[in-house]
Structures are given as C-alpha cells and as structure tokens.
C-alpha cells in the first residue's frame, strides 16, 4: 500500500491520472472505517489533508453565490459566513456525528460517499447546488441532481477530484431537520431540507434517507408554491399538513435495522410539515 500526500491540486490530479484506482482520502470518516475493519485494502491512497486550496469558503455577493471548497469541514460550515448565507447547511452540519467527526469530515467527502443518509446532501439538493470536478484533463461543473446517481454512486469519474460546491444564496427561510433515535451522534433515519425562494416564489424540499439517493419532493413543492400567499407571506390553512402528506408520497424508503420504511415515510412527512410551518408561522 502506498500513501501520497500531495501539496497541490495539480499534483493530486497528476497522481489520479496515473493511478485512477487510488482512493481519495479527505476526512477519513468513511474510508478509514473500511480500512480499519479490513473491508477495504486500497493499494494506494491520495490524502487531501495538505490541500489548503480545497478549504476556502468564498461569498460572491454580486452573483449571490457562495463557493465552498470541498475540503471545508463540518466545523467550518457551522459558523459564519455559512450560518447566515446557507443556514440550512449550518444546521445540517451541527447534526453530523460528533465534534470529532465534524472536525475531520468534509463536504466533499459527503458528496463523494453519497450515502442516502448524508446530512449535507439534502441541503445541496434543495438549493440546486453545483459540484465542481477537476481532472488532469480539465474541469467541469455538474448539477447536484446529476451528480448523485444512486446509493453511494456518483457521476465523479475515477480520475476526478471534487474541488468545490457552489450554492446560490436565496432570500427566504431555510431549514434542515433530521430524525435519529439518539439526541446526538446518530445516522439519519429520515431528513429533510426546506428552502424558500421568496424572490422566485417557490419552495424547495429535498428528502434524505428515504430513497436510494436524495429525493426532491416535486409534488409537494408545486403544491406549496400555490398554497402560499407570497405577498402576505402566509400559508393557507391545512396546507402544511398536505405538504407533508405529499412529501411522504415522494419517499421511497426501505426497511433496515435503523428504521422501518413505514416510519421513515411517516417521519419525513412530519418533518416537511413542520419545516413549512417554521417557514410560515401562523
């Protein structure tokens, strides 16, 4: 086994070009578990921890976009500027693992692993984020919706490095909620991110841990756009419940040892209802 610790993105890309089977190691919170348990014995590992270029968080007010380096840790996402610009992402960050995990785990790692229960992913989905990928041959930007292909499957090619995520900064409420059986350090049994785009007069709802990958609740979104009085900023009576019901119908959950499909469906509906009420308090 070989371990490389490149000091520049270029160097990392060159290594990836020469050895596309190399495993990329960011925070280690997924890969190292597999190595420790002998489930995976990588021939070579490219560790990204020395790549300071992957960590900056930059806000472009003119474009209303925030660009987050793939190497930004959850701890970095808890605070400003993310807490103000993308509050749902800061909320999601607070639910990730423990302080130790948040100090190590990165947004890029969350994307690369692409677990249906990944806490950052519903936020990126709801906000129509764009994933920036670079290889030695050049870069490309991929919509989050195309990036996430299935359970732990993404559009990343083996020679590509996720360098950043760009997220439109919206005006309006946004929130993330996640159900787990423990009050901390728990994997999502159902999660939801709701984002209101007041200027665009739409509502986005992305569901986590209730399908092979993150699901956008299109029927619920369409319903909400109509049920909201955008000029008054109010919600029609009963609309939040209907929104939740529609969200639950979008879910395609499975039974496993963490939760039953029925509970996941139920829970994600409740979360959707509550998030919409938070967005439009009576």
């Amino acid at each position: 086994m070989a371990v490389f610790v490149p000091s520049s993105i270029e160097a990392a890309l060159a290594m990836l070009r020469d050895d596309p089977d190399a495993h990329l190691l960011a925070g280690g919170t997924d890969l190292m578990v597999e190595v420790n348990f002998g489930h995976r014995r990588p021939e070579s590992v490219i560790a990204l921890r020395a790549l300071a270029e992957l960590r900056p968080i930059v806000y472009d007010p003119a474009a209303s976009i925030v660009r987050i380096g793939a190497g930004a840790t959850w701890t970095a996402l808890l605070d400003e500027p993310i807490a103000s610009l993308v509050p749902a992402l800061a909320e999601a960050a607070r639910t990730v693992g423990s302080p130790q995990i948040r100090n190590a785990g990165t947004l890029g790692g969350n994307l690369a692993t692409c677990s249906p229960a990944g806490d950052g992913l519903p936020v990126l989905s709801a906000l129509d984020a764009t994933v920036e990928l670079v290889s030695a041959a050049g870069g490309r930007a991929v919509s989050i919706h195309e990036f996430m292909v299935g359970v732990k499957r993404t559009a990343r090619r083996p020679d590509e490095l996720i360098t950043a995520v760009t997220i439109p900064v919206l005006e309006g409420f946004q929130g993330y909620a996640k159900v787990g059986v423990r009050n901390a350090m728990v994997i999502s049994a159902a999660g939801a991110c709701l984002a209101v785009d007041r200027l665009g007069r739409n509502v986005r709802l992305a569901l986590g841990a209730v399908g092979p990958t993150i699901l956008r609740a299109d029927p619920a979104e369409a319903f909400a756009a109509e049920a909201i009085d955008w000029s008054a900023g109010t919600l029609a009576p009963g609309a939040a419940e209907e929104f939740g019901r529609l969200a639950a119908t979008t879910a395609r959950p499975i039974d496993d040892h963490r939760a039953t499909a029925a509970y996941r469906r139920h829970a994600v509906g409740v979360l959707a209802t509550r998030l919409l009420r938070r967005a439009f308090p009576a």
Binding site: M1, T29, V33, P99, N183
Partner: protein, 159 residues
C-alpha cells in the same frame, strides 16, 4: 511493510518504521510509539476514546491514516500542556469529582475537555453536553464528568 515516516507527536519527531501504511494513527500511537493513552473501543469514530488533537483540531485518531499525518502537530493525552508537571486542572478535576470509574473513556475525555475549555472557558451545561457528545462513557452516566468540567472551568484551565 518496510515503510518509514516521521510524525511530530507531543512536540517530538518520532520515527515510524516497518509500518503497514494502512495503520490508523491510533494504532501507530499505541503499538509503535508507546503512547497507549488513546484507547480503541470502536475504530469507527463513534466513541471518542481515541481523541487526540491534530493541528489543534480534536479528532478520533482511529480515523486518521497515520501516514497522512506527516507534518501535522499531534497532541495526545500524554502531551497536554501541563501534563508533564503533574496533573492539569482538568485531570485534577476528574479525579476530585469522581468522573473516573473504569477509566477507559477518560483519556479521550480529558483531551476533549481541554479542547472545549480552550475554545470556551465557561461553557453552559448544554454546551458541555454537546461538545462532549462524541465521547461515550458507559460507567458514569456523565453526571460526575459534568461536575468535573464545571469545576475545571471554575478553576480555569492552565493552557
């Protein structure tokens, strides 16, 4: 095997020789560098017993690939500031307040509490609970640990 690299642990350069490069920092600290203070209880970042500081960040050493930590400043419970001259304020508070039973989670908690109090010298009870929620303890139910953190905060951490 037969790989060699150098880690900076508790201020000293330490050679790691004949290592398999898949080893975690936890394994290397314990089995190769004679620093058994970090404990392994899950090897998947779910218990906090192996907590150390890497470049000032509290992390689970089981999830750090040791060979990737070249150039980083690694601090273990054995190398906390003040630990060479007897007990730190936090360690003394753990002893005084009955925060130790079997003691297996203790070194990881000591490192985590140092990290907490350095960032937040007078945390609220909820802040303590959240900051230490990644450190499982099976013996104490956390009550005396909370008391110890409060006592250490009152006494002021000697950083």
């Amino acid at each position: 095997m037969n790989e060699q690299y150098v880690l900076r642990v508790n201020g000293s350069e330490r050679s790691v020789t004949d290592a398999w490069l898949g080893e975690s920092l936890l394994y290397v600290l314990r089995e190769r560098l004679g620093l058994p203070g970090a404990k392994g209880a899950c090897e998947q970042g779910e218990c906090g017993s192996c907590s150390v500081l890497v470049d000032g960040a509290l992390v689970c050493s089981c999830l750090v690939l040791a060979a990737s930590a070249i150039g980083a400043d690694i601090t273990t419970v054995e190398g906390l500031p003040g630990a060479d001259a007897g007990l730190t304020t936090v360690q003394q508070a753990f002893v005084d307040e009955g925060a130790v039973q079997c003691g297996f989670c203790t070194p990881g908690l000591i490192v985590a509490v140092h990290d907490l109090l350095e960032r937040n010298p007078s945390p609220t009870e909820l802040e303590v609970r959240e900051a230490l929620s990644g450190n499982l303890c099976r013996c104490t139910g956390y009550g005396r640990i909370l008391a110890a953190v409060e006592a250490a905060a009152r006494a002021g951490v000697q950083a």
